[in-house]
């Protein structure tokens, strides 16, 4: 999986895409279908939450990097304050990113959160607090990723704009200086 993919309409990183979707789908499927097979809430809880946590980790550390070139994390600096760091690839590579990859990335991210919300509403209607707990945990994991990546993307756009203006400014000044030195 590297950035130098052949041009085309296919996914550039099929394996990463697969993993990106795999754990989300597995968590949702297990949650929905498990009532048919397992009586024990504990198993349902642990497995679903575990799959959701795995998915969170995969999206944050692997597919975010590979599919859209974004990464976010939190640090605590010397003064003891918490700082959110966002990282993105430069403009060149960003434009080289496969469109299908990033489409898949963003859409599955949003759709999963919506699916969990719907399931949460169901369990609310049925007044099942335990299942609401499961849904709550999975939902918070999805939302955390959504917020992180959205902020990261906005940050990337802002940075690119700053680059652009500053580059233009510096080239402009250098052009003027050259003009003056020639004259």
């Amino acid at each position: 999986m590297d950035n130098f993919q052949p041009p085309g309409e296919n996914y550039a990183n099929p394996r990463t895409c697969l993993f990106h979707v795999l754990f989300k789908a597995a968590a949702l499927a297990f949650y929905i279908l498990s009532a048919l097979f397992f009586n024990s809430f504990v198993i349902i809880f642990v497995v679903t939450v575990f799959l959701a946590a795995l998915d969170f980790w995969v999206v944050k550390n692997v597919s975010g990097r590979i599919l859209v070139g974004l990464r976010w994390w939190n640090e605590i600096n010397e003064q003891g304050e918490s700082v959110w760091k966002f990282e993105c690839l430069d403009q060149e590579s960003l434009s080289r990113m496969n469109k299908k990859d990033s489409w898949l990335f963003w859409w599955t991210l949003y759709l999963t959160a919506v699916a969990w919300i719907v399931l949460g509403i169901f369990s609310l209607i049925r007044l099942q607090a335990d299942y609401l707990l499961v849904v709550g945990v999975c939902l918070s994991l999805s939302i955390a990723n959504i917020i992180g990546f959205t902020k990261c993307r906005k940050d990337a756009k802002k940075q690119i704009q700053q680059f652009a203006t500053q580059t233009i400014a510096s080239r402009f000044t250098s052009t003027i200086q050259t003009a003056f030195s020639v004259v």
Partner: protein, 281 residues
């Protein structure tokens, strides 16, 4: 002579300047201009790989990149550059950008490497919080690299152990244990914040989760031996251990007059979990 670029170039001869200049022009979208001024007198810690800058030359594996950043000589092929938005604290960010660095390295960086790094962070956090070590008195340093994976595993483990030990109502026990611990950690953190303490939300959650480790051990022992006396003794010991682990962080976060207010709920929570462990049969 340079074309009056405002980009601070490294000390170099004329040919180097030309080479660098051509690279700048070639990869102008990479915007080296903004990244360099962003960290002017940068100590080598801050390792933003910038295309004209030395860092990219490295297809170095992460550990060396951790240390040096800006010293290797230029001619890089300008693989994708990673501008970081506020790049002041180089120490931890090295892990991030080194993990992210020259992409061929980190994209193929086996996921296994990331896993290993996260696992080792859990272990080191655990050692910092629960076992005696010189950093305990300084909460700012001790749990600097907080993470929530450790607490997650510990809470789940505790819930599972309690559930397994219970002969009836296993699901309720699990759900209650998990909900109490999770909600308890959040509420305790809010408590400290409302008392005017200086604590970071996730750091505190992380801390309270790691302090569950002794209770996990206690619960496991109680699962194996079900003599009540032994249970009481074991739970008391682990309870004291947990409280001792949590004490420095919580007390340092609030002013001296409010220490008891901040600490009392923590002890209460651990005591109630302890009772849960004892009472399960």
């Amino acid at each position: 002579m340079s074309h009056g670029d405002t980009i601070p170039l490294h000390p170099s001869s004329q040919s180097d300047i030309d080479e660098i200049e051509s690279l700048i022009n070639a990869s102008v979208q990479a915007g080296p201009a903004t990244v360099l001024p962003a960290r002017p007198p940068s100590p080598p810690r801050a390792s933003i790989p910038v295309s004209p800058s030395p860092f990219i030359a490295s297809n170095l594996p992460p550990p060396p990149a951790y240390q040096k950043a800006a010293t290797a000589p230029p001619p890089p092929p300008a693989p994708p550059v990673l501008p970081v938005s506020d790049a002041q604290d180089g120490r931890r960010q090295n892990i991030g950008s080194a993990g992210f660095g020259p992409p061929p390295n980190t994209l193929t960086e086996p996921v296994w490497d990331t896993v290993k790094r996260d696992l080792s962070r859990i272990v080191s956090n655990l050692k910092l919080v629960v076992f005696p070590n010189p950093f305990r008195e300084d909460p700012g340093k001790a749990l600097r690299d907080w993470d929530l994976w450790g607490p997650f595993f510990f809470i789940i483990f505790l819930g599972l152990t309690l559930s397994w030990s219970a002969s009836v109502k296993k699901s309720e026990v699990f759900a209650v244990a998990f909900a109490v611990l999770a909600a308890g950690a959040i509420i305790l953190t809010l408590n400290v914040l409302l008392l005017g303490g200086h604590i970071i939300f996730f750091q505190s959650l992380s801390l309270l989760g790691y302090c569950l480790f002794p209770l996990d051990v206690g619960a496991m022992i109680c699962m194996i031996k079900s003599n009540v006396i032994i249970k009481i003794i074991v739970v008391t010991i682990t309870l004291v251990w947990s409280s001792w682990a949590a004490y420095p962080f919580m007390s340092a976060a609030v002013g001296p007059r409010r220490k008891a207010l901040a600490l009392y709920p923590v002890f209460l929570m651990y005591i109630s979990v302890g009772f849960l462990i004892i009472a399960i049969d």
